[in-house]
């Protein structure tokens, strides 16, 4: 299944429908998810577990929108003709802020000492939703051992947000299955296909180990950290959603 249609030019035969996001009329192709349709229309819906090129999972819930008054995860919900979608409202921003905070507080996210700082999507969402009340939620402070067994790649699941992007990338793009979910509930985490990472067939060329796959600092490349000075890091210049929002200008 192809996702995130960059151009709708090849889909002439597909049924075109229209719907609205925050009052603005947008075009979509029947069968697209709300997020795909919004991306195409240049409307950015914030997200963490979703990444272009991977099947959507619908787990982080940050992309929650209201469709005809009902909350749904836009990355997995199909768009319908005439749907009235609410995206950037005070109520929904409040939910997203809570969800982003939950992820911050569930793990150990100490931005100043994290290699992913500046290119971390969770941090970027924190800025976007102004999650500055650091003491609102309790900190769960997990103490899981860091897996540094592999010569090139390190895994610190204390920073994992359970987005499963590494799992899908390894399974669907690399054809390997290096990662998988283990545990349940608050103890659910990313496990590896072996007693540790050195007992798996992961390597640096895997999409699962690509810098952009892990949205946080959970999968880390050894000997590669803090490579951009503050102010010139990826999200200092172009925070998530920049490319999608640019489409809007181009399409008009």
């Amino acid at each position: 299944m192809s996702r995130h249609h960059e151009s709708s030019g090849q889909e002439d035969s597909a049924a075109r429908i229209s719907f609205t996001i925050d009052g603005e009329t947008c075009a979509a192709i029947a069968g697209q998810t709300i997020m795909e349709a919004a991306d195409g229309a240049g409307v950015y819906i914030p997200r963490l577990c979703d990444e272009e090129g991977l099947d959507p999972q619908g787990s982080c819930r940050v992309c929650t929108v209201k469709v005809n008054g009902r909350p749904v995860a836009s990355c997995v919900h199909p768009v319908g003709a005439g749907d009235v979608v609410e995206n950037d409202t005070a109520e929904i921003r409040g939910w997203r802020r809570d969800l982003v905070r939950m992820l911050f507080h569930e793990g150990n996210h100490l931005c100043p000492i994290c290699e992913a700082s500046g290119r971390c999507e969770l941090q970027a969402m924190g800025h976007r939703f102004e999650t500055f009340e650091a003491d609102l939620f309790p900190y769960l402070q997990p103490v899981r051992p860091v897996d540094a067994s592999h010569p090139d790649i390190m895994l610190d699941t204390n920073r994992c947000i359970r987005c499963g992007r590494c799992i899908r990338a390894s399974r669907d793009l690399d054809g390997k299955h290096v990662f998988g979910y283990v545990g349940r509930g608050i103890n659910k985490r990313v496990g590896v296909n072996g007693i540790d990472l050195s007992h798996t067939d992961i390597d640096l060329d895997d999409m699962a180990a690509a810098l952009e796959t892990c949205p946080v600092g959970c999968i880390i490349r050894k000997r590669l950290g803090f490579f951009s000075p503050i102010g010139r890091r990826l999200f200092d210049m172009t925070p998530p959603g920049t490319a999608i929002q640019k489409r809007k200008g181009n399409s008009k």
């Binding site: 919900h77 939950m102 992820l103 309790p138 299955h177 545990g183 509930g185 608050i186 103890n187 072996g194």
Partner: protein, 611 residues
């Protein structure tokens, strides 16, 4: 037997079918009492899958273990009804007699001790599972006796000296469980219910007519959600597919619910008959009874009923000589996960996956088990179908109210004289039920279990039915002595334990709800905690992926609404302006230990504030 042989035998038994991974892991768990690294590697190799997938299952289902369990595992139910009935004292007695704590296994590998969520015996609490064997109405003295027998080498089966009424005494069940049927209605628990008349009537009709009759009867899902059963059948039939499936949801895990236990024990034929009729209506050749692991003691009996039905031509090819309809049923045993009661999670579990809900749409009636149209229906709903076929939709619709036809089985437990199963017509008032159940001083009724609705005295005039109090059947009664927040805390603990962890709000948010409830219970709450809980609850309900997360904040929200004075008496602003959650003395203790000095300002001995 070494791990390799155990795994080989387990995989062979299920034809190395990856979809039967739960059954395979059950075989290994029973034989080796755990599934270790080597076992996971071997299973993965035998099935051509990855080790991490196997580990994903072993660590998801609470009846599987990656570390060795004892030959006998005692699982004491610790839901709030059992605790009120004395489960904690029973637990202490077990710890004392066995010499191990909860979560531990004895050094010689003889026994393990664990807690478990509701096992469907709240009407005879405290109760426990000893391997598959159920023990009920426990006291500390009884628990000590059981522990002694176990230490002397008794098998779990040998612990049963007296068996219960009805089929509980059937040699294939042989359980000390009582049915506790307190009120028999006309539809399901009536003494004389003819079997197979409904099936014969259905087979004389077209499948469409059968679905139509169920629709006309106004039958709605008895699990609590109340989706019209006839519409489900019609929808599933409407999607073109080469195969369709019919699944009976016997994963009755909502704390305080046990009516399906009684139906499975006393109305197994009616259930299988209902499954057969529903299968005929949708055009399914295969059915699955998803049986929760806690009811494993019923499995042999149910398999025997199935066998007898096959022998009688009621299952298998050419049912009742109809020459056009064949259908058979397999039993899928669960492995300890409440979330599998959610229909799409149940389907994942039947497919040998982690019991996580699927993204919807598409709904199971379109793409369910193995991607084929599937109807998942509650045991009680399926039991109603043969009755409707036999007696007609008008007869069925005459019971109950305008929008809620038929009768409802209620599982009554807690502070009442007559806990048990009541078959009542819809429309019954809560106060009428409480009177029947001889609840002398009821203050709270939890309608529908933790995921349902908590009501106080002011709401006892309300009625059971889809118009008002919709319920899967749990009626937990609490008297005025009980602590509301203790109940809320227990329910949150349950949701946290049973969350699958897939989505953020349910996985993390419910932990935060409990943290704040406990803070309030400990007297450290402040008024702003109420709005905090309200807002957090709204986020969790709005953004969760399935009903578990949507429901998790309900005990908090309902209790704040129903019992504001209880909360008001617990949350107080402090005079010194410090945050109530901050314990200055505890904070200073650390500094005192390090500095070996006292605080001139805060130490009471120096006239400091003792707060």
């Amino acid at each position: 037997m070494d791990t390799k042989s155990v795994v080989r035998a387990a995989c062979a038994k299920y034809g190395s079918d990856r979809d039967r991974l739960i059954d395979i892991l059950w075989e290994i768990q029973r034989a080796s009492r755990h599934i270790n690294d080597e076992g996971m590697e071997e299973v993965a190799a035998a099935l051509g899958i990855h080790r991490v997938e196997v580990e994903g299952l072993v660590t998801f289902y609470s009846f599987f273990s990656s570390t060795p369990k004892g030959r006998i595992t005692i699982r004491l139910c610790n839901d709030i009804i059992d605790r009120h009935a004395g489960a904690d004292a029973v637990g202490q007695a077990l710890v004392g007699a066995l010499g191990i704590g909860f979560g531990e296994t004895s050094g010689d590998g003889a026994f393990s001790l664990d807690h478990t969520s509701c096992i469907g015996l709240s009407d005879q609490a405290p109760a426990a599972l000893i391997n598959d064997v159920v023990v009920t109405n426990l006291t500390p003295a009884k628990a000590r006796d059981l522990a002694e027998l176990i230490k002397q080498g008794a098998s779990p089966e040998e612990l049963i000296s007296v068996t219960g009424d009805g089929n509980n005494s059937h040699p294939l069940i042989h359980a000390m469980v009582s049915n506790n049927i307190r009120l028999r209605g006309a539809v399901l628990l009536h003494e004389e219910i003819p079997t197979e008349k409904g099936l014969a009537a259905a087979l004389a009709m077209t499948p469409e007519q059968v679905a139509g009759e169920v629709t006309d009867a106004g039958l709605r899902g008895r699990g609590g959600a109340g989706f019209p059963t006839g519409r489900k059948l019609t929808l599933a039939r409407g999607f073109p597919a080469e195969r369709r499936y019919l699944v009976a949801n016997a994963d009755e895990g909502e704390p305080g619910t046990f009516k399906d236990r009684v139906l499975l024990t006393e109305r197994a034929d009616l259930l299988f008959e209902g499954m057969t009729i529903a299968a005929y209506a949708i055009g399914a050749a295969h059915g699955i009874l998803y049986l929760r692991a806690e009811y494993a003691y019923l499995r042999e009996y149910l398999e025997d009923v199935l066998k007898k039905r096959r022998d009688a031509g009621l299952l298998g090819g050419d049912i009742l000589g109809s020459n056009r309809f064949s259908f058979d049923i397999r039993i899928q045993l669960g492995a300890g996960a409440y979330i599998c009661g959610e229909e799409s999670a149940l389907i994942s579990s039947c497919e040998g996956l982690r019991g996580e809900p699927k993204n919807r749409p598409p709904f199971p009636v379109e793409k369910g088990y193995m991607g084929f149209p599937t109807v998942v229906s509650n045991v009680e709903s399926l039991c109603c179908i043969p009755r409707i076929m036999d007696m007609g939709s008008k007869w069925f619709g005459a019971f109950g109210t305008e929008e809620s036809h038929g009768t409802k089985l209620l599982s009554v437990s807690g502070d009442c004289g007559k806990p048990g199963v009541y078959e009542v017509p819809f429309g019954l008032k809560i106060e009428e039920l409480l009177q029947m159940a001889e609840a002398l001083d009821p203050a709270i009724v939890q309608v529908g279990g933790p995921s349902g609705e908590m009501i106080g005295r002011g709401d006892f005039h309300r009625r059971i039915g889809f118009e008002d109090l919709s319920t899967g059947g749990a009626m937990m009664v609490f008297c005025a002595r009980r602590n509301v927040l203790e109940i809320v805390d227990a329910f949150l603990e349950f949701f946290i334990d049973e969350s699958c962890g897939y989505c953020t709000p349910c996985r993390v948010g419910s932990v935060f709800l409990r943290e704040r409830i406990q803070r309030i219970m400990n007297g450290a709450g402040e008024r702003s905690d109420m709005s905090y809980l309200e807002a957090l609850g709204q986020t969790i309900t709005a953004t969760s992926r399935c009903g578990l997360g949507v429901s998790a904040p309900r005990p908090v929200i309902h209790s704040m609404r129903q019992f504001p004075l209880v909360y008001a008496s617990l949350v107080k602003e402090r005079k010194d302006g410090l945050q109530p959650g901050f314990d200055i003395q505890r904070g200073l203790d650390i500094a005192r230990k390090i500095a070996r000095r006292q605080s001139m300002i805060y130490d009471p001995r120096f006239g400091g504030k003792d707060e």
